[in-house]
């Protein structure tokens, strides 16, 4: 039986493992944290329809029945050995893998790096992930009772050369609009503002989400990137942007500011991949695929595969498609290898 090591126990890693297991491969899934699910486990509801993340995750976990997985486990070393890869985990397990799948996902951009937004400095500045956590737990002292005004800042650490990320993180617009509606459900009396540069509502149902945010929830969309956030003596936040559609500077004082942190290639994943010469691309740091259209699951190295956000920002459905495509790509590769 052939061994396949899947690195990363988030949605793409779990989905690919489930598929490969069904195809009859011996899958070893490695997850560095104490639980499966990746970022999905920390999310409350998913755009566009508000499906509960927990329900999706439950389904995924039940689907990997029979897959061997290790939690709290890191790849200590990995190196090529003929056509295989020798993978040593820090829990003492060693696997000679016929194929390795990187499903290492993404790190959220560290919002404190955008110093002018004051994350970690001003009390009522939070991130998209913090807000999801609050939706799930209702436990976050930074969120005041009955806020009067709430702001969402799109493109935090995305489309930003200074932050080192020139690219669009793809999912933040839809997430912001979803969260703007949800917070309005929590605080119907609050005014909600979204500061955006372009609204990238590209997927099925996303434009409807935007329309409903405008019409049902009265969310105000301001086309202008937030330039500066400051705290006043009442610990409210003073937000400055240009309303570029009217060409005038704009100021609004709010009680809660949510920063839409973008995606970056997972630094832990990059470290592991570096050992076998698989690296992030210069322009965006995500892993380089064999080509940009046809072979997105293949690395330049034979036997190394990708699924999910380690090759660029992706929605959850995108990542799941890639996981299935990666399983098939691995299967095709191993069959062809055996024929030779």
């Amino acid at each position: 039986m052939k061994n396949i090591v899947v690195i990363g126990g988030g949605p793409s890693g779990m989905e690919a493992s489930a598929q490969l297991h069904k195809m009859g491969y011996n899958v070893i899934l490695v997850e560095k944290s104490p639980a499966l699910g990746g970022h999905l486990a920390k999310w409350d509801r998913l755009f566009p329809q508000g499906v509960h993340a927990g329900n999706i995750l439950e389904g995924m976990i039940s689907n990997i029945n029979g897959v061997k997985y290790f939690l709290n486990a890191n790849v200590q070393s990995i190196n090529a050995l003929g056509k295989s890869y020798n993978v040593i985990l820090d829990n003492g397990i060693t696997v000679l893998a016929d194929a390795v799948l990187f499903a290492t996902g993404f790190d959220l951009f560290k919002a404190e790096k955008k110093e002018e937004y004051g994350y970690g400095i001003y009390e009522h500045v939070i991130t998209n992930a913090d807000l999801e956590n609050w939706f799930r737990t209702k436990n976050d002292q930074r969120i005041v009772e009955n806020p009067k005004r709430i702001g969402f800042v799109h493109c935090v650490g995305s489309r930003d050369e200074k932050a080192g990320n020139r690219y669009c993180s793809k999912v933040c617009c839809a997430t912001a609009v979803k969260q703007a509606c949800e917070i309005k459900q929590e605080f119907p009396g609050a005014e909600v503002f979204c500061f955006y540069m372009d609204l990238r509502m590209f997927g099925r149902g996303y434009e409807d989400l935007y329309l409903s945010a405008q019409k049902e929830y009265g969310v105000r969309f301001i086309r202008g990137r937030v330039s500066e956030v400051a705290e006043n003596i009442n610990k409210e936040l003073v937000v400055k942007a240009e309303d570029t559609l009217s060409g005038k500077p704009l100021k609004v004082t709010i009680d809660l500011l949510v920063l839409m942190s973008g995606m970056q290639n997972c630094s832990a994943g990059v470290k592991v991949a570096g050992q076998i010469g698989v690296a992030g691309m210069e322009n965006d740091g995500f892993f380089e695929t064999k080509d940009s259209i046809y072979s997105l699951q293949q690395a330049l190295k034979p036997g190394v595969f990708f699924a999910g956000a380690c090759t660029g920002p992706k929605t959850l459905p995108d990542s799941l498609h890639e996981a299935r495509a990666a399983a098939l790509a691995i299967h095709t590769y191993l069959q062809a290898r055996d024929h030779q």
């Binding site: 002018e116 493109c155 489309r159 930003d160 050369e161 200074k162 932050a163 540069m197 086309r223 202008g224 990137r225 937030v226 330039s227 500066e228 400055k240 942007a241 240009e242 309303d243 570029t244 060409g247 005038k248 500077p249 704009l250």
Partner: protein, 231 residues
Amino acid sequence: MGKLYDKLTEDYRIKEGLKACINCGTCTAICPAAEFYKYDPRKIVDIVQSKDDHEIENLLKSEQIWYCGECMSCLTRCPRKNAPGLVIMALRNLSMELGYFVESEKGRQQYALAKIISGNILNYGYCVYARTLKAKDHPEAGPLWEWIEQNMDDVYERNGANLEGEGPGALRRIPQEDLDQLKKIFDHTGATARIEAINRYSMEKAREMGLTPDEYFHHVFNNTEKEHLNQ
């Protein structure tokens, strides 16, 4: 594409200050000028990157390129590492080179600025100089400055300066050999030519406006008639 645009790109400040602008408005949001003047640095950068010569010519003759205070706060925040402030400096430079600056009220002020500041550098080696700082032109300096002006030597001595003295120290007399070198630098690097061009275009404009050089100076220094404020 446009000849004016090509000329602008010869300026190192355009090379440094203008990559592709995404019109996000972070510059305008915190710009000290945008709140008080009819001014939007984002739009200016957008016009420059359009490479449209007609639009750029209008810009070079406009009031708006003279509203910026060159504080460079815009540079801190631009997500594309642009510097609208540097773009403005290149526009002003070209406007003066082509004589377009006299077409705008705020541009005409360059005459007074060149006289005061470049004059101080060549005469004394300082950009500002106590002897030429007159209370009548600086009412904001308050009754305090009137007192300083009347007791200049004593006040500076008491405050540890070396006004017009030999050797180092604040407001020392800068040796003639050093002033001569500054003059040579001015001649060699285009500053003298700049002063001459400003004077030539300004005096043409003064004649057109029916003003003597002194009246013209007084006029551009003290008066603005157009509505510059953004209400």
